[in-house]
Amino acid sequence: MTTPSRYWREIPQRYRLEANKCSKCGIKFFPPRLICPECKNRELEKTKIAETGKIITYTVIRVPPHQFVDQAPYAVGIVELDDGFKLTAQIVDCDFEDLKIGQKVRIEFRKIFDEGESGILCYGYKFVLDE
């Protein structure tokens, strides 16, 4: 169960792909961190990750966690974004036969799941195939 407060805390990264970057060693973090694990620097600048990339690997989920039962079967992929970040998310609106390693994808804003008929709606990023 996702509580509204936990969902709310993650809105900047889920909606806007907000990352941060160490002002000393330049490493980017997604999800954003409070302290750079390399140099313990606390001054991290706000940045964003890329919205396009390529599939590194993927799988088709047929027995999902309970919030995702209505969506099964669905594809989940690890994507290397154009800025080098690796991001795991659903790949939607595609035929599974069209999924290939190296396939170009882009991020779209989608509903991730809802908390039943009366709970909150959780939004965030998924991948769709890019031409």
Partner: protein
């Protein structure tokens, strides 16, 4: 001077054909296709709603506007299918774009007219100098009751417009609104599907208000149908926009570029706004465009825009509406469509 500085569209890739719906209900597909001038309609994926489509359309508008979203002072979403009964769509959109927290947000609802309502208010705030930029989106994932005539047309899509005073793509020459209390179409609280007045939705409703607004704005602006390169009317089906255009003295060439309904369906709050995006896509500097929305209940908002030279710079910065309509379609069978639209009753 004020006007549109960015525009964007979003259309889901799923479609269902009129034949596929007619087959299930034992209806005559060819009479619906002829009578309504409809071939197919768009269908949202299960993870798409008014909010997600608004975000994608607004991002496309931002690509063309080339502004920092922090400078957007108003974010309005017009829809009759806001995902929450209580909780705004606009805050999710504003947050997803990065326009929060110094922003005014509101959700509008007025059957198919909610999109142009948001446009009217955003534009007016820009004109008054209250905000630097205003964003308005018309979006819907509308539902017709299974087997009802509306099921053949109720579709999904979104169009977004950013208004400002500098770097204008289409300057506003005039605005006008025309409203009466007319109960032609409604949905009560807690009801899943809308009700409509059948033939009553025609003459006293759509035609009366669309004509009232079109004549009113032309009189106000001192313009005639021949003064416009393009005109966009609300598109509940394929026939109505051509019929009302003819009544007013417009020809088919003025209507066709923004007439998407035969393969898109009626996107409700997104309908005439999407027609405007498709028209801007093919317009040239100096072109004059009239748009007249219609929402049951009932009323019409009208705007006259004049396209500027900046259209040539921004046209290709985001997907064109006709490309979203024509490319990469995924045809659904009725069973998948019923599942996608949650028309199937499941065990709890």
């Amino acid at each position: 001077m004020e006007g549109i500085i960015g525009y964007g569209a979003y259309i889901p890739r799923n479609r269902i054909k009129v034949e596929e719906i007619a087959k299930v209900w034992g209806a005559d597909a060819s009479s619906y296709k002829r009578g309504l001038m409809l071939e197919e309609k768009s269908v949202p994926s299960p993870d798409q709603d008014t909010i997600t489509m608004s975000v994608e359309a607004a991002k496309n508008a931002l690509r063309r506007a080339g502004i920092d979203p922090v400078d957007i002072g108003a974010v309005y979403v017009g829809s009759e299918s806001h995902p929450y009964a209580v909780k705004p769509s606009g805050t999710v959109l504003a947050e997803a774009l990065g326009a929060t927290p110094e922003v005014h947000t509101a959700d509008f609802e007025f059957a198919c007219k909610a999109g142009t309502e948001g446009m009217f208010v955003a534009l007016s705030l820009v004109k008054a100098g209250e905000i630097k930029y205003g964003l308005a989106v018309g979006a819907d994932t509308s539902q017709g009751a299974p087997g009802d005539a509306l099921e053949y047309s109720a579709a999904a899509g979104a169009a977004a417009f950013i208004f400002g005073q500098k770097n204008i793509i289409a300057r506003t020459l005039d605005t006008y609104s025309y409203m009466t209390d007319t109960p032609d179409f409604w949905r009560r609280e807690y009801q899943y599907y809308p009700q409509h007045g059948g033939r009553f939705t025609g003459d006293p409703a759509y035609f009366s208000h669309t004509k009232g607004a079109a004549k009113g704005i032309m009189k106000k602006a001192g313009m005639k149908p021949v003064d416009f390169d393009y005109v966009i009317f609300h598109q509940p089906n394929g026939k109505f926009p051509f019929r009302v255009g003819k009544m007013l003295g417009f020809n088919e060439k003025q209507i066709e570029p923004g007439w998407l309904v035969n393969r898109l369906g009626n996107t409700y709050s997104g309908s005439s706004p999407l027609g405007l995006t498709a028209t801007l896509d093919i317009s040239n500097p100096g072109d004059r465009i009239l748009i007249v929305s219609y929402g049951s209940g009932a009323g019409s908002d009208a705007f006259i825009f004049e396209v500027t030279e900046r259209i040539d710079e921004v046209r290709d910065m985001a997907p064109k509406t006709r490309d979203l309509l024509d490319k990469d379609k995924n045809y659904l069978e009725y069973g998948e469509y019923a599942k996608f639209r949650q028309k199937i009753r499941k065990a709890n």
